[in-house]
Each structure stands twice: as structure tokens, then as C-alpha cells.
Amino acid sequence: MKKLWLAAAVSFLASGAAFAQTTDTLAKIGERGAVNLGVRDSSGLAFTLGGGKYVGFHTEMAERIVDDISKQLGKPLTINYQVITSQNRIPLIQNGTIDFECGSTTNSRARQKDVDFAYTTYVEEVRMAVNTKSGIKSINDLGGKTLAVTTGTTSVQHIRKKARDANLDFKQVMGKDHADSFLLLESGRADAFVMDGSILAANIAKAKNPKDFAIVGEVLSVEPIACMLPKGDAKLKKAIDDSIERQVKDGSLAKLYDKWFMQPIPPNNVNMNMPVSESTKNAWANLNDKPMEDYGN
């Protein structure tokens, strides 16, 4: 969902420079005794607390993957955290600056041409947030209402499709970014805000009166989020997938989820209050690395 258009432009430029080669990232990691891990500074799944501290559900999961890799290689590994953005993540994977990244990257067929993905560990659901007083419970209540969406996201398209299928007429306002879109909802300029569930939950948790807002209605679309790694590096993919499988099987991933989404988290000690979704549970039960196109979007 965070795939800004620039990512496509930059990755295009980079793919021209990248040449076909079989990489053995695990060997490289072993030699340097450190993993260059791509992390995010402000996503729901991975963010920074400042001062070089990187936390979040996916960041912590990645640290456990590094632990498992260290056991496999039989030597201790340190982690070099490297902040990446939606724009530069694919080029940085391709040119080997980072070994792999765990943040909020959607596994899509277009990206699979340039990189590989580990097992899906989180499934993003596109939902809508409304003011609890509005009485809106479902897409069908949206006739004549105003909807906020964020420019440059795929949610806009989902909602247009739903409007056509349900033969509904609603007005659409487009916020510059997520904070703006939420401000449209908060200031009453929009009746609902359609976006990734985790972004909605984070914005509600940070709102002046979190109780005034709720996430309601059907799931508009789902997107698999997974760790991204260099293309064609089968050994590294197996190491990461095995670690994820272990974390799912022994229940530690579910506990980790609980820690980051159902309990107060730093820096503000707000509770995201976002129970694990059916789609995510399903992804854990049937580990796979399918792109979003296979989810019927």
C-alpha cells in the first residue's frame, strides 16, 4: 500500500544497472559477521524511537530471524540498521546495500520481477474509519456521504470499484497524506476515511478523542506484507522462511503481534487496539509467498 509511484521510477532506473548474478547473501553475512537490515522509520509495522532505535512488530521479527541465521551460521551476528523508504527499498536490495528488509512492503507481482519475498507475515486489510456518531456501519450506508482517501494509494481505486458495483454515489475528497485525510474526518469535512487498517488504527489511537472514531464495515481489499530479499537467493530465502515458520509454529509470532498491536507501545504508550485479523491468521496457518494479485484484488 505504501508503494508510491516513485518506487516504480527508481526501481526502473536501478534495474537497468543491475545485472544478472547469483548472490549468496548468507556467505556475505557470515564473512562480515553482520546483517545489513532494512527498517522503516514510520510505518505501523516498523518504526523508530529516535536515537538509532528501531522497533515494531516486523523489526523485532527480523531480529529473531537474524538470531536464527546466526545459529545456522554458527557465529554471532550484529545488525546494522539501515533506514529505507518506499522509494529506495528495491534499488537498495538490488545493489546489495541491505541484505533484506522487514517493514511494510506489499508483495506484488510487479515487484517479484525485481526481488523475492519471504512468507507473508502480516495481511493488511483496507477498511474505513468513521465517526461513531455518524451511524455508518457498511459501504451501503455511504450514499450521499463524503469519503476521505489519501492521494497516491490504491485505496482510491478499491473504493471507486465498490461504488460502481454497489451503484452508490458518494463524494470523494483526497487528502495529501494520511494525517491530512484523518484531519478531514476529524474536522467533519469527510464522513469516512478509507485506508489500511493499521494506518486507521494508528491515527485513531493518536486522535484527540480516540473514542469518537471506529473502524467499521467490510474488508475492501487485502494486501500481503512480507520481508523483501534479493532475487534468486534461494539459500537466504530458505533461512528466512524457516525462521518465520519456527516463529509461527511455536506461537512466538502471535505473542509478538499481541505485544505491538494489543498493548500500549512506545513512544506515546498508546494502544493500537487492533486484534489480529482473519486474513493474517490465515496467512500464518497457511504459510505462502503469494503476491497480492492472488488475493482476488
Partner: protein, 252 residues
């Protein structure tokens, strides 16, 4: 890079290329959408320009009035207020802050708020130019008007302004072209104009380069048309032997 211009003929929902490139009814293509976005950009810009020219002229004239210190101070305050705050911040002030202070303004459509923001921002700049144009005239012209027995309104109307406006046509041209380019900030408050189109459609189609090229061309065309209109006015309004005499083609 291979360009794929067919992207504009695609339906915005199912991505099927439409024959003739235009959709019908509720099914629209990216080209339909592009033209609608251009329409918004042009409407925002032209309406903003009208407000800017009217308000800018009034404020500019006020600042040169000889015996009205309070009006001059008001004019100065206006200019300093609107040109010292970044345009993007002004847009947000009009959109979120002013309606919170003046509740009836909540009902104003974003279009009006954006046009006000853009118009007033530019009016401060045009007011400076009008003031400069009037003050560039020799003092003798004002006194000559007074000596003719004209009232203040009359000597501004018949003596000062006709000459001042001729002097400032070149900077006014720049300002009018700027308003087209500045109109891109309207995207920040949900006006579905070209910049928003570029961001959204670039994302949806994964062809950002084609989209940006198309949008750039439309911005350039819009600003260039205004440039030509002003160049035409400048030529027609020229007083032989005055200001830009000799260049013949306008000074820009």
C-alpha cells in the same frame, strides 16, 4: 525507455483500453480524468487571477494615496500579511483554521477557499507591482492631474493608472503564469487538479513517467497561453515612445 501512451485510453476501473480513448457514462478513461483535472487547474487559476487582479489593484492604489495614512497602513499590512506566509500554509489556514473560527465558512466548498487563498496570496504581489508602477511615474503627472481640477479618483483613473498598468504588464504576466503553477497547491485540500491527478494515476497505472509528461505539457500550455494573451495586450496597449519602445516584441 519504452513509452506506453495507451495508458491514457485505459478505463480507470478495469484497465481495459477503450476505443477512441474516451469513456462513456460512469466509465471514464484516464484521458477523461486528465481533461477534468486540467479543467480544475484552469478554473482555480483563472478565478484566483481575477481575485488577485481586483484585490491587488485596490490595495496597490490604496498604498499610494497621498492623504490617507490609515488606508496606506491597511494596504501595507495586507501585503505583509499575505506575502510573508507560505502559500501552502495559507491554504491550510483557509481550509482548516478559518472555518474553525468562523463556523459559517464550514459550508464553503474547498474550491472557494482555495481560490481565496491563491487570489489573496497573489494580490499581495500584484499590489506591490501596482504601487511600484504608480510610484515610477514622475510626480509631475499627479500634480498635473490635480492642476486640471481632477478629483483623486479622476486623476488616478485618467492620468496615473493608464500609464502605471502599462509599465507593469511584464511583471503581471509573470504573476499570471505563476498563478497557474501555484495552483498545484490546491491538491493539498482535495481539489482534483493536475498534480493530484499525476500522483494518483501514476500510482494506479505504474506509468508515472507518461503521466508526468502529460501533466507537465498541460501546465506549460496553460501558462504559455496566458503569456501570449498578456504579450498581445502589451503590444496593443503600447504608447509609442514609452517604456518598452524599440523592442517591439514585449520585454519578456
Amino acid at each position: 525507455m519504452a513509452m506506453d501512451w495507451e495508458v491514457f485510453c485505459k478505463d480507470t476501473l478495469d484497465g481495459v483500453v477503450q476505443s477512441g480513448c474516451f469513456g462513456n457514462g460512469r466509465d471514464i478513461t484516464y484521458l477523461d480524468w486528465l481533461l477534468s483535472a486540467w479543467g480544475w487547474t484552469v478554473s482555480v487559476s483563472l478565478t484566483g487571477l481575477v481575485i488577485a487582479l481586483v484585490a491587488g489593484s485596490i490595495i496597490g492604489v490604496i498604498r499610494t494615496l497621498p492623504a490617507s495614512p490609515w488606508l496606506v497602513r491597511f494596504g501595507n499590512a495586507w501585503v505583509e500579511l499575505f506575502r510573508n506566509i507560505p502559500l501552502l500554509v495559507q491554504i491550510f489556514l483557509w481550509y482548516f483554521v478559518v472555518p474553525a473560527l468562523v463556523p459559517p465558512m464550514k459550508a464553503f466548498p474547498p474550491f472557494i477557499l482555495v481560490v481565496l487563498a491563491l487570489g489573496f496570496f497573489t494580490s499581495a504581489r500584484i499590489a506591490e507591482q501596482v504601487r511600484a508602477g504608480i510610484q515610477a511615474l514622475p510626480k509631475g503627472q499627479r500634480y498635473a492631474g490635480m492642476a486640471m481640477g481632477f478629483t483623486t479618483v479622476q486623476y488616478y483613473r485618467y492620468v496615473l493608472l493608464p500609464m502605471a498598468y502599462r509599465i507593469i504588464i511584464p511583471p503581471l504576466t509573470s504573476e499570471s503564469m505563476n498563478i497557474f503553477k501555484n495552483s498545484a497547491v490546491a491538491f493539498a485540500v482535495s481539489i482534483p487538479e493536475l498534480t493530484q491527478y499525476a500522483l494518483q494515476v501514476g500510482e494506479e497505472t505504474a506509468r508515472p513517467i507518461e503521466v508526468y509528461i502529460a501533466v507537465t505539457i498541460l501546465y506549460a500550455i496553460s501558462a504559455f497561453v496566458i503569456n501570449r494573451i498578456f504579450a498581445f495586450i502589451e503590444r496593443r496597449a503600447q504608447v509609442p515612445g514609452f517604456v518598452v519602445a524599440g523592442t517591439g516584441a514585449g520585454g519578456h
